[in-house]
C-alpha cells in the first residue's frame, strides 16, 4: 500500500499553523516529491519498507523543515505580531529580536516534541537550583543581609578571655566595663548588656518578660531611635537618677499586647521584680536587640543590679562578678586591629591595677555579626558548597543528555550551516534551548525552595540567629535567576560549541548518524566528575552520620526519661536573706514530692543540658597553684536528693544531707573526673577546696564529702567531660534562681500545672519558666548534628542518584551507538557474558576513575568538617571503604541494565541496519 505522503508532510507542518490554503499547497508539493523519491527507490530494487523509510526521512528530520519553513512562511505567531517598518538600527534590533523570538519558539517546539527529555532535564535542574535557592535563602538571612542597625559593619563584640586558656569568650564585670568605657579611645561608643528574666506584676496576671539590662549608650550606638519617648542616659544607670523609679524602655510588641498601644504610656510606672520602673520609651516595631529567637520585651539599665543584697555589695560594684557582654562601635578611621591592640593595652593596665580579680585578664574583639552567627557560619557554608556540588552534578547530567542529542542533531546543524547559518547563529539557537531549560528548571526550583525553605526554617535550631528572617526576597530571586542563567550556559555551552563547529563534509556524508567520538570523550569526563563529586558528598555525609550515631550512643550518665524541669526566679527584694530562699525551695520541693505521680524531686542550677554552664576557679587547701595555672571546674548548686532523682551513681563518701545547712561546716561533692585530675594519687574525701564565693564573705572552704560518677551536663555532647563541683544550695544560696527537677512515674509534662499550683500556693506572683523535660533538652542538644547529617545525607543521596543516572545514560547511549559492533562480535561467536563484560568494563572504568578522584577530593575536603565531627576521624578508613563499596555497587547496577540490553542485540538485525 502506498503511504499517505500528504499525511506525513502535514504532521511536520502542524506546529507552524500556516494559513490553510498555503499549507495545502506546500503539503501537495512536498508529498509529490516524497512519492517520486519512493518510486525511484522501488524502481532501483530497494525493498518497500526501506524505500518508505528513505522517503520519509527526507521530511522527518528533527524539526529542520519546520524550522526552515518558519523563516520563509508566515507561521501563526508571526502573523499575530504587528508589522512595522524595519529600518536603520531600530530595524536591525527588531530583526535580531525576531530571530531570538524565533529561536525561543523553535526551542519550545523541540522540547514539546521530546517531553521525556524535557521533563527529566527540568526536574534535574529544578532539584539543583531549588536546593541552592533554599540554602541561599538561609545564608542570605543569617550571614549576608546586614544587621538592622546603623552602619552595622562598624559594630564589634567585646569579650573577656582568660589568657592562660584563650579560646572561650567570657563575660565582663561591671567595674571593668565602666573603666574600659572611660579609658578607650578606639570606639565612638561602647555598651554592655546581659539577659534577665523579669516578672511583671500589678494589673492582671503576672507575666514573665524577656528582659535585657543594657548600659546607657546601647540604643544610640545601634542608631536606634525610640518610637515614643526617649532612650536611656547615663543618669538612668543609677537608682534615682532622672526619676525616683528606675527607667525602662519597652518593645513595640509589648506596648501593643500588654498596654493596648496606649499613646500616653510614657511616664507610666510598672512593677518588675517587685521594683518600680518608669516607662521612658517605646522602641520602633521590628527593633530587636540582641537578635535572638525570643525577642526582648523590656530593656532596663544597670540600676536593676545596683542594689545591695543583704550584706553584699551590688554586682555593679564587684570587679570579680562577670556577667556582661560588650558591644562597641569603632570610631571612624579606627581598624579592628588597632582597637584590639588598645584593648590588650587596657587589659594589661587593669590586670596590674586589680591583681586580685583581673589575673590573666585578656580582652578580645570580633566583628559583631560574625560573633552573633558563631558556629552556624561554617555549617551553612559547608551546606552551600554541598548544594553547589549537587547543582554541578545536575548540570553535568543535563549536559550529557544535550551532548547525546547534539550527536543525533548533528546533521540538522550541518544543514543549517550549509544553508548559511553562522556559527554564532547555531550556538545561539542551542544556548537558547539550554537557557530555556534552565529557566524552566529555575522556576520549578524556586517553587520547590519556597516550600523547602519553610521546612528548612522549621528544622534549624533556635540558636541560629535570624532564622525568622528567612524569606524568598528579591536578592534570593535574583540569585536564583543568575544561577539558572549560568546553569543554562554551563551545561549548554559544551554541546552547543561542538554542534556549532560541524564539519560539513563529514556530516553530510554521514547519513544523519553523526559522529560521536569527540562527544564521547567529553561525556565520559563529565560522568567521571559526577562520580567523584558524589563520592565526596557521600563520604562527608557518612562522617556526619556516624558522628550523629556516636553522639546518640554517648552516655549522658543520667536517666533523661520521665524528668520534668522548670526554672524559678525569686526576686531579690522579697527574698533578700539566704534563709528565705532556702526555705522557699525546701517547702516547694516537699510539696512537689507529695504530688501524685512524682517519684522524686530536687533542685539544681544550672539545669543539665540547658546550654548554660557556670565555670569557676578554685584552690585546693594546702596547695599553692602555679601562677597562671588556675584550677577550674563547672559548678552546680544542688538540692537534697539531686543524685537520686537524676540516677547519678555515688562512687565514694556520702550524698548531701538535710543537716548540711547554713549552720554546719560547708561541704562539697565532686565528680570522678575532678578527683582523677586534681587528686590523682590520693583519696579526695576529707580534702578541702577553697571557692571564691560565700555568704557574707569572699571565699569559702568546703570539705569534700562525696565523689559521684562523671556525667555530661553540658549541651555540647561532643565535648569531653569536665571536672565538676556540686555545692549544696542550702549552704551557698547565692542566687534566687533554681531549676526544679522532678522524676515522674508517668508523662512528665502532665505535672506542669500541678507544680505551678504549688508554686502559686507559696507565692502567687511567681511563674514557672522554661517548663521542659530533660529529654527535650537532650533532643535540642542533638538537633544540630542530626540536621547536619540529615541535610548532607539528603543532598548526597540526590548526588548519588544523579550520578548513577548519568553513568547509566552514557552507557545506554554507548550501547545504542555500538549496536553494530556488538552485533558483529556476536556474529563472530562472542557469548552474551563477553558482551556483558565488555559493557560493564567500560562503565566501571569510568566509575573507577571517578572513585579514585573522589577519594583524593574527599581526603582534601573532609578536614573542613573536623569541627563538626565527634569520635570519628575526618579520614576514617571504615567510612571510606564502606562508601566506596556502596558507590561501586550502585555504579555496577547502573552499568548492568544497559549491559543486559547489549546482550539482547540480535546480530542479524544489527548488521542489516548497516
Amino acid at each position: 500500500m502506498t503511504p499517505d505522503w500528504k499525511q506525513i508532510v502535514r504532521k511536520q507542518l502542524a506546529a507552524l499553523q500556516l494559513p490553510p490554503e498555503r499549507e495545502l499547497e506546500i503539503v501537495e508539493e512536498l508529498a509529490l516529491h516524497l512519492e517520486a523519491v519512493y518510486e525511484e527507490e522501488l524502481a532501483a530494487g530497494v525493498s518497500e519498507p526501506e524505500a518508505r523509510v528513505r522517503a520519509t526521512r527526507l521530511v522527518v528530520d528533527g524539526g529542520m523543515l519546520e524550522c526552515e519553513l518558519s523563516r520563509v512562511e508566515q507561521p501563526l505567531v508571526a502573523r499575530l505580531l504587528p508589522k512595522r517598518e524595519q529600518t536603520g538600527r531600530e530595524g536591525r534590533r527588531r530583526i535580531s529580536m525576531e530571530s531570538l523570538w524565533q529561536d525561543i519558539r523553535y526551542s519550545v517546539r523541540l522540547l514539546l516534541k521530546q517531553p521525556a527529555f524535557a521533563c527529566f532535564a527540568i526536574l534535574t535542574l529544578a532539584l539543583g537550583i531549588g536546593a541552592n535557592t533554599a540554602i541561599f535563602s538561609v545564608i542570605n538571612a543569617v550571614l549576608l543581609r546586614p544587621l538592622p542597625y546603623a552602619e552595622p559593619e562598624q559594630l564589634v563584640a567585646l569579650s573577656r578571655i582568660n589568657k592562660s586558656q584563650p579560646g572561650e569568650a567570657l563575660p565582663i564585670s561591671y567595674l571593668n566595663f565602666f573603666d574600659l568605657r572611660e579609658r578607650s579611645r578606639s570606639f565612638a561608643q561602647m555598651a554592655a548588656y546581659h539577659e534577665c528574666s523579669l516578672t511583671l506584676t500589678g494589673g492582671q496576671t503576672p507575666a514573665q518578660l524577656a528582659g535585657q539590662v543594657v548600659t546607657a549608650e546601647l540604643f544610640d550606638l545601634l542608631g536606634a531611635r525610640p518610637h515614643l519617648g526617649r532612650a536611656f542616659t547615663r543618669a538612668d544607670e543609677k537608682i534615682g537618677g532622672h526619676n525616683a523609679s528606675r527607667a525602662a524602655v519597652i518593645s513595640h510588641g509589648l506596648w501593643q499586647t500588654r498596654f493596648g498601644a496606649d499613646p500616653q504610656i510614657i511616664g507610666r510606672v510598672i512593677t518588675l521584680e517587685r521594683k518600680t520602673f518608669e516607662i521612658v520609651g517605646v522602641m520602633k516595631p521590628g527593633f530587636q536587640f540582641p537578635i535572638q529567637a525570643t525577642p526582648v520585651d523590656v530593656w532596663v539599665t544597670p540600676a536593676l543590679d545596683a542594689e545591695s543584697l543583704g550584706d553584699k555589695r551590688p554586682v555593679t560594684e564587684r570587679r570579680g562578678y562577670s556577667l556582661l557582654e560588650g558591644v562597641a562601635r569603632l570610631s571612624p578611621g579606627v581598624s579592628l586591629a588597632q582597637a584590639q591592640a588598645e584593648m590588650e593595652l587596657l587589659a594589661t593596665g587593669l590586670e596590674k591595677e586589680y591583681p586580685d580579680n583581673n589575673t590573666n585578664l585578656g580582652l578580645t574583639l570580633a566583628p559583631y555579626h560574625r560573633n552573633l552567627v558563631g558556629d552556624a557560619r561554617l555549617a551553612l557554608w559547608v551546606l552551600f558548597a554541598v548544594v553547589m556540588c549537587v547543582l554541578l552534578i545536575a548540570c553535568a547530567n543535563v549536559a550529557n543528555l544535550m551532548l547525546a542529542r547534539a550527536t543525533i542533531r548533528y546533521r540538522e546543524m550541518a544543514v543549517r550551516a550549509a544553508l548559511g547559518a553562522g556559527r554564532w547563529r547555531i550556538l545561539r539557537q542551542l544556548l537558547t534551548e539550554s537557557v530555556l531549560l534552565a529557566l524552566l528548571g529555575g522556576i520549578l526550583g524556586v517553587l520547590l525552595a519556597s516550600w523547602g525553605s519553610e521546612v528548612l526554617a522549621g528544622l534549624i535550631p533556635d540558636e541560629v540567629p535570624r532564622v525568622g528572617e528567612i524569606a524568598l526576597d528579591r536578592s534570593v530571586l535574583v540569585f536564583s535567576l543568575i544561577v539558572s542563567l549560568l546553569t543554562g550556559i554551563v551545561f549548554g555551552l559544551a554541546p552547543a560549541w561542538r554542534a556549532a563547529n560541524v564539519d560539513l563534509g563529514v556530516a553530510m556524508k554521514d547519513g544523519g548518524r553523526g559522529t560521536s567520538s569527540g562527544n564521547a570523550g567529553l561525556r565520559n569526563a563529565l560522568v567521571v566528575a559526577e562520580v567523584a563529586a558524589a563520592l565526596v558528598l557521600l563520604i562527608s555525609a557518612s562522617l556526619l552520620g556516624r558522628t550523629f550515631l556516636k553522639l546518640q550512643r554517648v552516655e549522658t550518665g543520667f536517666d533523661v526519661n520521665n524528668v520534668l524541669t522548670a526554672s524559678i526566679s525569686l526576686p531579690d527584694t522579697q527574698y533578700s536573706k539566704p534563709e528565705q530562699k532556702i526555705e522557699f525551695y525546701r517547702q516547694l520541693t516537699e510539696r512537689v514530692r507529695a504530688l501524685p505521680g512524682v517519684v522524686s524531686a530536687s533542685t539544681i542550677l544550672p539545669v543539665p543540658l540547658g546550654g548554660t554552664d557556670v565555670s569557676g576557679g578554685f584552690q585546693i587547701e594546702g596547695q599553692v597553684a602555679a601562677a597562671g595555672n588556675e584550677l577550674r571546674a563547672d559548678m552546680r548548686w544542688a538540692g537534697l536528693d539531686f543524685f537520686r532523682t537524676m540516677k547519678i551513681g555515688l562512687l565514694a563518701g556520702r550524698d548531701f544531707a538535710a543537716t548540711d545547712d547554713l549552720t554546719s561546716a560547708p561541704v562539697v561533692m565532686i565528680n570522678d573526673t575532678l578527683a582523677k585530675r586534681y587528686f590523682p594519687h590520693e583519696d579526695p574525701l576529707g580534702k578541702r577546696l577553697i571557692l571564691p564565693m560565700g555568704i557574707g564573705k569572699d571565699e569559702t572552704s568546703c570539705q569534700i564529702i562525696g565523689v559521684v560518677k562523671s556525667v555530661r551536663h553540658r549541651a555540647e555532647l561532643a565535648q569531653p567531660v569536665t571536672p565538676e563541683l556540686y555545692l549544696p544550695y542550702a549552704q551557698l544560696p547565692l542566687l534566687g534562681q533554681l531549676s526544679l527537677v522532678v522524676r515522674t512515674s508517668n508523662e512528665p509534662q502532665s505535672l506542669a500545672n500541678a507544680i505551678q499550683r504549688e508554686v502559686s500556693a507559696l507565692d502567687k506572683e511567681i511563674v514557672l519558666q522554661e517548663v521542659k523535660t530533660l529529654a527535650q533538652y537532650l533532643g535540642n542538644a542533638m538537633a544540630q548534628p542530626w540536621l547536619s547529617a540529615l541535610w548532607l545525607g539528603l543532598f548526597a543521596g540526590v548526588a548519588l542518584l544523579l550520578s548513577a543516572i548519568g553513568l547509566y545514560g552514557v552507557l545506554a547511549y554507548s550501547v545504542t551507538q555500538r549496536t553494530n559492533e556488538i552485533g558483529v562480535r556476536m556474529a563472530l561467536g562472542a557469548l552474551p557474558q563477553d558482551v556483558l563484560r565488555l559493557v560493564i568494563k567500560q562503565g566501571m572504568t569510568l566509575a573507577g576513575i571517578g572513585i579514585a578522584l573522589g577519594i583524593i577530593g574527599a581526603l582534601a575536603v573532609t578536614h573542613v568538617l573536623s569541627s563538626l565531627l565527634f569520635d570519628v576521624s575526618a579520614t576514617d578508613p571504615l567510612t571510606f571503604v564502606v562508601v566506596v563499596g556502596a558507590l561501586s555497587l550502585v555504579a555496577l547496577l547502573a552499568c548492568w541494565i544497559p549491559a543486559r540490553r547489549a546482550t539482547k542485540v540480535d546480530p542479524l538485525l544489527a548488521l542489516r541496519s548497516e
Partner: protein, 110 residues
C-alpha cells in the same frame, strides 16, 4: 563572512540557473543538482523547498501549478525578469571570483 555569502549565493544561483531555459518542478531541480554535480552537491527537501519559496517571495522565480494529461498537477518554477538580472549578476560575480582564485591559488574551475 565571505564564506556564508558564497554558500548562500551559490545555492541561489544553482536554482536560478536550472530554471533559466525552461520551468522545472522541485523534484526535477533536486535530481538535476545531484546528477550534474555527480552527487557532490545534494539538496535536502527541508532546505530546497524553503529556498524556492524564498526566491519566489523575492520575485526572482515564479511558481505555477501545471496539469498535464495523464499526470498529476505539479508546481513548475520559471525565471522572472528580475531573476534573470540577478542570475547574470551572480554569474559575473562568480566568474570574477573564480578568476581571482585562479590567479592567486592556481585553481582551474571546471
Amino acid at each position: 563572512m565571505l564564506d556564508q555569502e558564497i554558500k548562500r549565493g551559490s545555492t541561489e544561483m544553482l536554482i536560478l540557473a536550472l530554471v533559466e531555459d525552461r520551468p522545472r518542478h522541485g523534484y526535477e531541480i533536486a535530481k538535476l543538482i545531484e546528477e550534474r554535480s555527480d552527487g557532490v552537491l545534494q539538496f535536502h527537501v527541508a532546505s530546497l523547498y524553503p529556498l524556492l519559496y524564498r526566491l519566489e517571495k523575492r520575485e526572482l522565480i515564479q511558481g505555477r501549478w501545471v496539469e498535464k494529461a495523464g499526470q498529476r498537477r505539479r508546481r513548475f518554477y520559471k525565471l522572472t525578469a528580475a531573476g534573470k538580472k540577478v542570475l547574470t549578476e551572480q554569474r559575473q560575480t562568480w566568474a570574477d571570483f573564480f578568476a581571482a582564485l585562479d590567479r592567486v591559488a592556481k585553481i582551474n574551475p571546471a
